[in-house]
Amino acid sequence: MRRGERPLLLLPRPLLLGFLVLFVCQLFYHHANRAQMAVDYQALDKPLSASVYRGIAMGSEQLLGYLLAIRLQLHDNQAGQHFRYSLIDYEVLIEWLDRITELSPRTEYPMLLASRVYTTTGDQARLRAILGFIQRRFDDDPQLHWRRLAEATVIAKYKVHDLELALAMAEKLAQLPVSVEMPNWARDFQFLLLAELNELESAIALIQALLQTDAVHDPDEKRFLEGKLLDFQQKLSESRQTPQN
């Protein structure tokens, strides 16, 4: 049997008043705290010079480099709150990434953070800045960073919608010497992007050069290139016929 309840108005007035006051206090406190939390985003401090970090590392430079990278990776989580990447000053962020790379040059961590984490922002200027970092640091060690440049090429094409930039990066990948071990698809970006830019003649010339120089040994890759060559040649002839028609 359910126990009967007294109407709220019959309760002692001080109790009701106290409840209301405390309820309003709680609402105000929460609101003020929320506003405060939004304001409380702690911006990234500028990093010190690499030589200072080397001194602080007490001989464990590589470990310090990784720990700094993890600290940077956690920067957007403050006081249990996740902050948008648009709040982060990407200039300072890139300085940090540069510093970590200088501290431990053989690490892939800063480039990975750049290509996978900090490219999730929708801000075009920030995206361009981080892609610039990837493009610049790629030259340090192409063997270690080719994946990041390939990812950056895709981001430049689909997120920044800048085919010229994507092509510039794809060219860097395609022009790497054969001593740099990477799958053929990474080198193929260049002619695929050229075709997208409607530069079919250049794309055809590139594929023909690849097939003629015997640089491709994999039969599947060869078949793919031959298919693309036919496809591009057909598109080119169609585009030439269209104005005549």
Partner: protein, 259 residues
Amino acid sequence: MRSQTISLFRFLMLGILSKRLLVLVTIMVLGAVLSGSFINELAIINGAAIQTAFVADFLRYSLALLALLMIATSVAEDYEFRQFERLLTMPLARWQYIAAQTLVIACLCLLLTLPAALLVSLYGDAAIGLYWAAALWLELFLLGVLGLLAILSLEKIPQAVIFSLAIYMLAKFSGLISLMLSESVKLSEGSVGSRVVEFIFGAILYVIPGSKTFAQNDVFFASQDLIAMLGSQLASVSIYALFLLAVCLIDFYRKEFNL
């Protein structure tokens, strides 16, 4: 003579072992494992290598502090309970006490290094685990001898521990301090004061251990010539430890004990 030194060593070693050494080492290992696992969870790539390097460094510094405290406490108790006066009434030379203490330091460091070797081998490569154990033993031994010198000279635990840690940290941060001093010379446009300070620090560097005397943590991230690194560390530690022991002997022989 040798049997007397060995007996003294056994007596001193038992004193060290009775100080809850196992419990303290277990707590440190547990701390290293937990914090290492946390770091591994945070890392996006190379988690295993970062965890191993972190655990190795965590154990290095915590075990260094533990070794220093153990040695300082052991000698301080000898001062407090007037053990030296009692020992010197026996047919025992002062150098035998230093020799026994050196053996104690060597054995204590070996005991402390074992869990580090096991843990690092478990997380990473056995060869790197062996390197780290040997390099850590050398580093701890050097710090132990430094602690022995400090406690023999200063006679009080806080002063001795602070002095030893200061020298240890000075050696570790010598690169940073040199950089700061050279920058200050540049900023002050080569003022005499800055240059004198830089010169004095340069002179101090001659009597503190160099960077080669410490275990190299970078081995966890890149393949390096472990034997060559260990050889260089062994040479560096041997020379510096012998120098410190010589200073210990001079200081100990100079002390007056009221028999």
